[in-house]
Symmetry: C2
Subunit: 235 residues, 2 copies
């Protein structure tokens, strides 16, 4: 079979999955937007079977919703879901961070240091109007937070944290592009302080700082989401 675009040694289903996933996260597909097979077939260059497979998988992850015999839609966003997701992240990641501080070794410390460094570098070079560099920044940001909790010793907690991150990232992406440089907030300082407390094995302080970091983020995103909803409703 002739691959129209490229051959990254991945099945078409995998490619379609990755692509649709990315386009939902980055907002190309808006919340609640119907995902029609014919439309995706053209866009992804794949047949029905791999597309349905990709959508089913995304539905299981919570990025799309599927109604029997009526196809798929991008999963909706809501203020309630944002708050719930962020509070649950705090609850789970606080525990995972605590355990990581107790159990983490050199590898864990190295991962924190290096991911924090990479986050800072990407932060310097990111242009607010360049979607690619924003996506890269988000990736670094995720890597840092994953690194913090990566020594919990629990595969299950890791999976839960992954899924909760996925549930929250869609609220952040539009904020990133609309808020070039946040005035009253020094994100790198917050990240640095968390990292410092974690490496000093001060679990209580690290967890407190992480919690505050997420609560602040939740507030910022809530505001941005509400404004976006108000703007969209008036169209």
């Amino acid at each position: 079979m002739a691959r129209t675009t490229s051959n990254p040694s991945k099945s078409l289903g995998e490619q379609a999955y990755a692509r649709i996933r990315h386009e939902i996260i980055s907002g190309v597909f808006a919340p609640d937007q119907p995902l029609r097979l014919a439309q995706l077939q053209e866009r992804c260059g794949a047949g029905f079977s791999p597309l349905r497979e990709a959508l089913t998988r995304l539905a299981a992850e919570g990025l799309v919703v599927s109604e029997s015999m009526r196809g798929f839609r991008v999963a909706p966003l809501s203020l309630d879901d944002l708050r719930d997701t962020m509070e649950t992240r705090i609850f789970v990641e606080a525990e995972a961070l605590w355990r990581s501080i107790e159990r983490g070794g050199d590898e864990w410390e190295m991962r924190i240091v290096s991911s924090l460094h990479a986050l800072g570098r990407q932060n310097e070079r990111t242009q607010p109007d360049d979607p690619d560099s924003l996506a890269a920044l988000e990736e670094r940001h995720r890597d840092f937070h994953v690194a913090l909790v990566s020594a919990s010793g629990s595969r299950r907690l890791e999976q839960i944290i992954d899924n909760l991150y996925l549930g929250s990232v869609r609220y952040r992406m539009p904020s990133l592009s609309n808020m070039p440089s946040n005035p009253s907030r020094d994100l790198m300082a917050e990240h640095g302080a968390i990292s410092e407390a974690a490496l000093a094995r001060d679990a209580a302080r690290a967890v407190g700082l992480l919690t505050a970091h997420y609560r602040l983020t939740a507030d910022v995103l809530s505001l941005a989401h509400s404004e976006r909803m108000a703007r969209t409703a008036g169209r």
Copy 2:
């Protein structure tokens, strides 16, 4: 199209998903067993597309694993996974129970009382050699534990609890059928005590009892799993 078996107003994909899910949980398909499309096609009477869709969904839920270009297998079981899953259940359900005790109203209390009652009834009439009644008992057991934490107010916690239950139920099913009546354990008494503490709004006691209940279960299941592994390895 002529449905060979029945028409429960569900798509073939849904049917196949429910069936394979049930057969993995109940042990018809053993851990690590390859799931070949041709075999499933015959057994489920569905074509490739709905079957792949069902398997993809089960893979996202963690019941099967998928290797690119090499198909699907039933997800393996392990002592580590069992321990991790049960400890994570304790962590998450303890929080959800605490919140439910704080927030639950009449509906929550009614749900606990009625599901406990139904669990007791099913417990009386269950025959250890009847797979159907064992499945019904497991269903009642699940309903009771879901009821306990059903007033947490967090959709995310509920989803996590659902998924963790799914991750642990496969370890319980074989134990149920091999241990007709557990000698040193009165499960109904444990459930009754948890229910009592929850309804009395004694959060600390309820959480303590629930934790002990799950720890005991984890120990029993660990033992049973180890014995099963030893027996299987020597064949």
